[in-house]
Each structure stands twice: as C-alpha cells, then as structure tokens.
C-alpha cells in the first residue's frame, strides 16, 4: 500500500514489508541526521502535544527541520484555546488547515484515530493514553535491526509496566510480524491487559511470563525496560504498591549474554541504575538518537519528499 499520505495510528496499520521499507529509508537518513536534506521545503508539520514529551516531540521537530520543512504547534494546553474550552475536534480542524501533517499526543485512548477521522492531512500518533505509540515501536524495531541485522530469531525480554505502558502494546504488535521469543517480566499487578494477551494468542505469539528478571536475563538478546507509568494508575495507592518493584543493575546484567543489549524508551526513573549506562550493554541513548533518522524517514515517506 505504500506510505504516501498515510495516517500512522497503530503499527498494525502497516505490514512487515512497509516497516522494512521504513528501516531501509532510516538507514539512508542517518547520513543526514546531523546535516540538512532539503526535500520537504515549504511543508509544515503541526505538533499537537496535549501531553508532556521530550524525545518524541523534539525528534519529530528535528527530523522536520533537517528535511527542510517547518514546524508549528504546542506542548501542553495552557497557552492554547483549549484552556478556554476548545475541544479536540476543532483544534485538529484548525491545524489541518494550516499544516501538511499533524503529530498528536493525547492522554485519552483513541484520540489519534479520532483526529485522523477529523483531519484530511495525515495524522501521526505520538502516543494516545495507554493504547499506542507506533513510531516508538518502529524506532525500537529499527534499533534491534541495526544492532543485530535481523529481528527474526531474537529472544526479547520486556521488563516493567506491561499493563499501562503504550510502548509495550505497540512493541508487541510490531514484533508479531517477526519470529521472536518473548519473555514478559513484570510485577503481578502490572501483567499485560486482556486485550494484549488476546492479541498475542490470536497471532500465535509464544511467550512466557515471570515476575523475576533473574529467571529470564540469561536467555535474552534484548532486555527492553519500561518505567512504571505512574500517571496512568487509576489509584495512587496501587502505584505505591509496585513502585521500585524492579531494577536493572550491574548484579542483574552479570548474568546476561555478552551480546545482550538493554533498551528503554526513556524517560527512566529508577528502573535502570546509572552504573549500567557505561556498560557495553546499554543502548537506550543510541536508541533515542536513532529517533531522528527514523522519523526523518517516516516524514519523507508520508509527505513524499524525493531525493537522489
């Protein structure tokens, strides 16, 4: 189906082949990630961040600027008319008339799909509630692909908040296109939701679950760590009960394969010890860095920038 003019609402809107086109393009874009490639001159990208973000917003912004385009938008709703009570639909309609594409992050689930129904321009979901974060999953798979040259055959441990973290949802959806071994590791109350478990079984994905990272660490090629999503807990007491329940430290990674890499979508709170940063296992900062070429590739494919 190709990428031109497409909305990016969930990873499942795309095929494995689409993802591989994106990865090849991202590899190509790495050459320009610190320079400039004027292929989106005159195009405007709207960043509608109703929820906080550092990496996703800035990497989209950087990507658009590196491609020669411009960026408009807001981060937080205080300085916009939403503070006066304007709704999402009207805000999106306005951005749609100003920009060539819209990147949206919102705290409510399904907000990005709704925005895509309202807007004529392509809408890119940069995170909606605890539902989806497709471009993060694309970046995560790209990082694995860059590191190992393949995704098929990898053993992947996902450690942390499997219940509320949208990146976990999107990552597992994306991994469903590949033959991987999945170890899910979380405290009992943060096990995946029924929707995700049913998705995995509908796709025939094999996985095991444990609450003890020591049991899985020796087998994994990738340890993907997510923080506990404090802001998504309906009950703060529930958060207090699981807070600090897991931690990746030097003691844990002693038992890992030498080639094992640790990924994290960031921000981290206390689930990865700072001492781990200087080990050869740490890839989370590199992963975040790849966010720019990956999003350059995405914008190029969607907005149709041509270059030699």
């Amino acid at each position: 189906m190709g990428w031109l003019g497409r909305d990016v609402i969930t990873v499942l809107d795309f095929t494995r082949e689409d993802l591989e086109v994106l990865f090849t393009e991202a590899l190509n874009m790495e050459k320009y990630a610190k320079s400039r490639l004027d292929i989106l001159n005159g195009k405007v990208l709207a960043l509608a961040f109703f929820e906080p973000s550092t990496r996703t917003r800035l990497s989209f912004e950087t990507a658009m600027l590196r491609l020669g385009g411009s960026v408009i938008g807001f981060s937080g709703t205080e300085a916009t008319s939403m503070a006066k009570g304007e709704n999402l639909a009207d805000t999106i309609r306005m951005l749609d008339s100003y920009a060539n594409a819209i990147v949206i992050r919102h705290s409510l689930e399904g907000a990005a799909r709704f925005a895509a129904e309202v807007a004529e321009s392509p809408v890119i979901n940069a995170g909606d509630g605890s539902q989806n974060h497709p471009t993060q999953a694309m970046l995560d798979l790209y990082t694995m692909w860059r590191e190992f040259g393949t995704i098929d055959g990898l053993s992947i441990g996902i450690l942390g908040d499997l219940r509320y973290a949208r990146v976990v949802n999107s990552l597992i959806q994306a991994l469903s296109y590949y033959k991987v071994k999945l170890h899910l590791i979380s405290p009992e109350p943060l096990k995946p939701r029924r929707e995700l478990l049913e998705f995995m079984s509908s796709r025939g994905m094999a996985y095991d679950w444990t609450d003890d990272p020591y049991k899985a660490i020796g087998d994994v090629d990738v340890l993907y760590v997510v923080r506990i999503q404090r802001e998504r807990f309906p009950d703060p007491m529930e958060y207090e009960r699981v807070r600090g329940a897991y931690r990746v430290d030097l003691k844990l990674i002693e038992r890992a394969k030498p080639s094992m890499i640790i990924m994290h979508p960031l921000p981290r709170v206390d689930e990865v010890d700072f001492a781990v940063d200087s080990t050869h296992h740490a890839r989370y900062f590199k992963q975040a860095g790849l966010g720019v070429p990956l999003r350059m590739a995405l914008l190029k494919l969607i907005l149709g920038g041509d270059h030699e």
Binding site: N87, A89, S107
Partner: protein, 159 residues
C-alpha cells in the same frame, strides 16, 4: 399467527413484526431501533405471551415505518432469538433471523472511561467491531477495549 394472539393485537397492513423476542426485552428492542413512540407511527407491543420455542416471548409490531435490515439486525444485541417479518399489504414478503452486524455505531457506551468516545464535548459516536458472535465479543474501534455480553448488557441497561 394464531387467533389467540390476534385477540391481543390485530394484523398490520405494512411494516415489521419482530417475533421471538426473549420475554421482557420488547422495550429494549424499541430502543435498539431508535423508536421512542413520539414519532407518530403505530407501534404495538406484546409482552410475556406463550411461545412454542421460547416458553414465553415478546412481540413488537411497527406499522408505517420502513426499517432496513441493518437497523433490524441491531435487535440481535438484546434479542438474539428474534425473527423479523416484513409485511406489505397484510402479506409477509420476507422473513429472517436477526444477526449481530459487523459494526455497531452509537448504541453502546465504551466501558473505558479514558476512551475518546466518552468525551462529552467531542462530535464522536462510539463504534464497535464484532470480533466474535458466539460468544458475543465487541472491540471498541477507538481504544481497543474488549466488551463481552455482560458489558454490552450493562451499557444497554439490561440487568
């Protein structure tokens, strides 16, 4: 139709007869069809009458309003056993058993309070895809939350 039933309501000239509704669900059937009684056309309701198939059942008759098959299939959510008879000039011109449609819009409220469809001030209607009919399972098209029969009945006010 037996003469016993005709004692209760007479035949209709043209419209729809929805038969084999589980007893006590006739009002919900009207709600599924969006019929409030204020539209002006004639509606007849029979509740708790004897049925060979169901023991007791409800029947709804609507006269003077054309209902599409898609509209009528929504009845399956609350009355999976219902059969529909389309009547023209006192004759049954078609008869079918309702089936839950593939997509259900606007009727059911998503149980996820953080779903965009539960925002009051957005021009949005709920939309569910049917992923299984037996057992009934719907998925919110916006937030992906799975709804079982119990959730659907709760949303529709069936206890």
């Amino acid at each position: 139709m037996s003469s016993k039933k005709e004692l209760i309501i007479s035949k209709i000239r043209s419209g729809v007869v929805i038969d084999h509704i589980p007893a006590g669900r006739a009002l919900l059937v009207l709600r599924m069809l969006g019929i409030t009684g204020r539209e002006g056309f004639r509606v007849a309701l029979v509740m708790n009458v004897e049925s060979g198939k169901l023991g007791i059942k409800d029947i709804v008759k609507v006269e003077g309003r054309e209902l599409t098959k898609d509209e009528l299939n929504l009845v399956a959510l609350v009355a999976p056993t219902a059969t529909v008879n389309i009547i023209r000039d006192y004759e049954v011109v078609s008869k079918f058993k309702v089936v839950v449609p593939d997509v259900i819009e606007g009727l059911i409220k998503c149980k996820n309070p953080r779903c965009i469809t539960n925002q009051q001030r957005e021009p949005i209607k709920s939309r569910f895809r049917v992923v299984s009919r037996e057992p009934l399972k719907l998925v919110c098209d916006y937030c992906g939350t799975i709804h079982d029969l119990g959730d659907i009945e709760k949303s529709l006010g069936i206890t």
